[in-house]
Structures are given as C-alpha cells and as structure tokens.
Symmetry: C2
Subunit: 302 residues, 2 copies
C-alpha cells in the first residue's frame, strides 16, 4: 500500500568531526521518503525552489518516489546549516533560511488522496491538519512528528491535530515537554488522552521505545564505531517504520515490532555517511542483513 | 557454585522525591549479595562496626549468605548520605564517613578461597588485587566494578588489577574515562587490551550493554512508572548477573545473555523501594515473572 509523506525538502550544510559538506539534499521528507521507499511506494508532498535541479531530483527518481506533489516555487529551497559537537551528541544550528518553505501550503494531488498510510513530518500543526482534511476516507495509520517549536508556540493547533493521529513519533525531550511528565510511561498515558494510541520515543544513541495499550517494546540503537552525521536519523527511522508497516499491510503487534526494527536499521544506515548518501546506495539485502544483526543484538532465551 | 563478593557493607541515609530514610542498610556488597542469593550460594567479605546489630544481620541470614568473612571492628560502619534530584537522574553526596571501612583489609576465610566466581565491588584496586591473590586456583569468572575516584587516583593499581579480571562492569561515564574513548565499541576494544574479555556497560534508565569478542548484546532497563530510589541498582544488577552465572554453571553466550536479563530484573526491583527493602521481600517467582516480561519488552521475529 502506498504511503504519503508531507514535509520539508531542503539543502543542508553540515559539519561534523568527520568532515563538512556545503550543500547536500536534506529535509525530513527526503530522508523519510528514501528510507520508506525500500518497503513500499511513496508519494511525496513538499515544496522546492528553482535551485532544485533535475540532478537533485534523481534521489527520488532512483527510488521510484512519486513527486507529483512536489511543488516548484520561485525562490530558493529551504536551507539549513548545522555543526555537530565532537561526539555528535550536540548540534548547533548556524543558519535556517525557510525560503520557499515559508509559504508552503501542502496540496495533495488527487491520486494521493486515498492514501491509507500518512506521515506528517515536522511542519506547522495547522498544515499537518490541513493535509489530513485532504485525505479521503479513514487512513489506516496516521503518524506525526513535531518539535519543541510547535509544542511551545502553537499548542492549541498541535492538540487539535493530535486528535486525528494514531502514532506519535518524537524524541524524549519532546515527549517530556508535550506531556509535562518526565517518566516516559506516565508521558505515554498523558499522550494517549490527546489522540495517539501509539507513542514512539526516539532516543538517539539509546534506540527507540514504543508504548501502546499492549505494553512497551524497546529496540537499541545499532552500535556503530564511526557514525559520521546524525542528520536525518530520526526521519530515516520514521521512514523505515512507516514504510515497513505500509508495505506489510498488517498492524498487529508483531508487525509493529518489526517496523521498530526496520526503522532502527534505516536510522543506523543514515548516520554512516553525510546527508542521505548512505541511503542513496543502500540495498535491500543490506537492510535484511542488519535486521538479522538486530536479532543478535537483542535476543535471548530463558 | 558459590560466589564470592568483596565490598562495602554500610548504612545509608537517602532522600528522594518519594521519601527519606535516615538509616538503612546499604553498601555495594549488601545489594550484590542479596541479589545474587536468589541464584546461588554467596560468600561475603566485608567489614562492619559495632553499630551493626544482629537485627541488621538478618538481611544476610534470611538469604543464607555466608558472613564468615564479615569482619567486626571497633567503630562505626561506613556511612553514606545522598539526595536524589526530582527525576532521580542526578544525586548529590551529602556525607561520606568511611569509619571502619578506612582500614579494611579483606581477609578470605579458608573456606572461601576456592571460589570459582568472584565479584570485586567498588573498593581500592590494590585491595581488589589482594583478594585475588588469596583465591586459590583459577576462578572461572572474576568481575570487577570501579569508579572515577580510582580511575583518576590509582590508575597504575587499577591497570594491574584489570590484568586478572574477565568481566568489567562499569557505567558509561566510567567506560569513557577509563578508555579515553567516547564511542563504546572503541572503548571496549581499548579495555580488552587491559585484561577483561567482557565489558558490561551499565547505562541506568537506558539499560545495559555487553560487549565481548562475539559482539554486542543490549538489554533495556525495565520501564517503571515510579522508581523510588536508584541506590544500589548497579550492584543489584551485578548481583543478578554474577549470581545467575555462578548458579547456572555455564558461560556460553546464551548464559551470558540470560545473566544480563537477570541482572536487569534485580536492578529493576532494587529501585522500586528505598534501600534494599524490595530485594529483601523479593520472591524467586517474581524474578521469573519479570524475566518473562523482559522477553515481551525486547523480542521480535523477522
């Protein structure tokens, strides 16, 4: 089943202890779409400027991602520049230029409106809500990402949007901020009252945790000796997760657990090289190989 | 097989957002011994003052822990007082009074000298080394805990001791400090050169990670809504781990993985109440029940 993603397509300048790139394609929707494309057909809605070339577009074309919803506007693409600390556990944003993204009003092409799986990447909650109004019928899974900016500045709009969301995928700091609870189980209980029935907490180097009414499932981060660039890891995780769910057509507990693992696999590959470079050349066989490695990493018998 | 532990037996005064106790039995060897006693026979070596009463000793008696190596000296027991922050993730040491512990020279009773499993809790490295000299033959597993104080002040003695250690069980900050490597895989590689062939990194609310030449195994912390007191969690983890290993008599990969799970089970129970109170009343059936819960928390199929 096809999967709709709405979010940013951008150019990034990234500096980490492993190197520096001045202009590489990025944005939440880009990482998500590429990661998800290994499992299912992906429909992308976003906006780019006239600096987005046909060569830039090959990242989507090569992964057969449908860009009928990728609007072209006069001006420049969203641009973000950031620098990571020595151990990659902190980052400083140097430049954020919204450019054409400032006036982004997501418009779903007619053929995208029947999407049964929807991922609302981190954009303004009222835009996320507007996307859901354009989707026909009842999607099977609506997942949403957000950030401190929206939690602080547009809490009412975010709450309204969350009423229509099944799966909330945010990091631990955002979970605590949104729920006003430090303990993640109590936070989940609070969040379930807002709408979502599943909370996925992304914990960076500590992996990810899924909480729903059935209980808790934890998956560690894949141990890497030399992660190069954490940019897009969370969005790649979300892409692997939602891509797997949409592709497998099931949403039982076993499928959700596998989705957590595939999300972790994609997130772990994403950080191996700068920007989405590792995902661009990733092979499905490598995904399966690392998923099996996750078995070795976590499985035991009593 | 019996398990030898050498370390502190103390009185603690603990304050957390959940309450306050002015005098409760504590110390690394206490938590370790009680946790391990659910799996195997435990031989305890430590020192107490004349303020340690017969009632205090029931914690060991009730768990059939052999206290023939628990020396009594004139003076008071080691006393520690600490206060935890609102979310239990930070603690401030208010008082440390070494008392009789200042002159502790571990002496192994003859009947303890054939121990095949040894845990050297966090004491001065030269004392840890001295314990090993008193052990006859080749123990099957020697595990060691240490802390920043010894890493900084007695690095030569610690290095000498580590040559005789199989399993190093420390937290992530200590791992990084000892190895001068931030990345835990690189840190493990460094530590393997010092002697240990297995590194277990205790990561608090994020669980624990075991690295050996076969690879990496991760176990999450058990999600609790209301942990009351983190004191002794790491020592209880170590006790569950070593107790299980000594009790099962195997040291293959499957046994080590189960030991990680039982360690996590004991650590998770330890934090549920103040001091070792929860461990005191713990039942073996509760341990098995939570171990099965760890299966639900982590297991998936591809």
């Amino acid at each position: 089943m096809s999967l709709l993603v709405v979010g940013s397509v951008a150019f990034d300048a990234i500096e980490s202890p492993y190197g520096k790139v001045d202009r590489i394609i990025g944005g939440a929707a880009t990482y998500f779409a590429v990661a998800a494309s290994f499992f299912t057909h992906v429909n992308l809605v976003g906006i780019v400027g006239d600096d987005f070339s046909a060569t830039d577009a090959t990242i989507f074309k090569n992964r057969k991602i449908d860009t009928a919803g990728l609007e072209r506007a006069n001006g420049k693409c969203f641009f973000w520049s950031g620098k990571y600390s020595q151990h990659l556990n902190e980052r400083e944003t140097l430049i954020t230029e919204l450019n054409v993204f400032a006036d982004f009003k997501p418009k779903l092409p007619e053929k995208f409106r029947n999407s049964k799986h929807v991922f609302l990447a981190n954009i303004a909650p009222d835009l996320q809500c507007d996307v859901l109004r354009q989707v026909k019928g009842n999607p099977k899974h609506v997942a949403l990402d957000t950030m401190n900016y929206w939690i602080e500045r547009t809490p009412a709009e975010l709450r309204e949007t969350l009423k229509h969301v099944d799966i909330l995928m945010i990091n631990d700091a955002e979970t605590r901020q949104l729920s006003n609870e430090h303990n993640l189980l109590l936070a989940a209980r609070h969040i379930f009252k807002l709408g979502p029935s599943t909370l996925i907490v992304k914990r960076g180097e500590y992996g990810a945790m899924m909480v729903d009414k059935r209980g808790v499932f934890c998956v560690p981060a894949f141990p890497l000796e030399e992660p190069h660039d954490p940019t897009g890891a969370g969005d790649s995780f979300a892409g692997g997760f939602m891509g797997y769910l949409a592709g497998c057509g099931s949403s039982n507990d076993a499928a959700l657990r596998r989705a957590m693992v595939y999300g972790s696999v994609l997130g772990s590959y994403a950080v191996e090289e700068f920007g989405p470079e590792r995902l661009r050349k990733l092979k499905r066989s490598e995904i399966e190989s690392r998923a099996r490695h996750f078995l070795k990493l976590t499985q035991f018998r009593l």
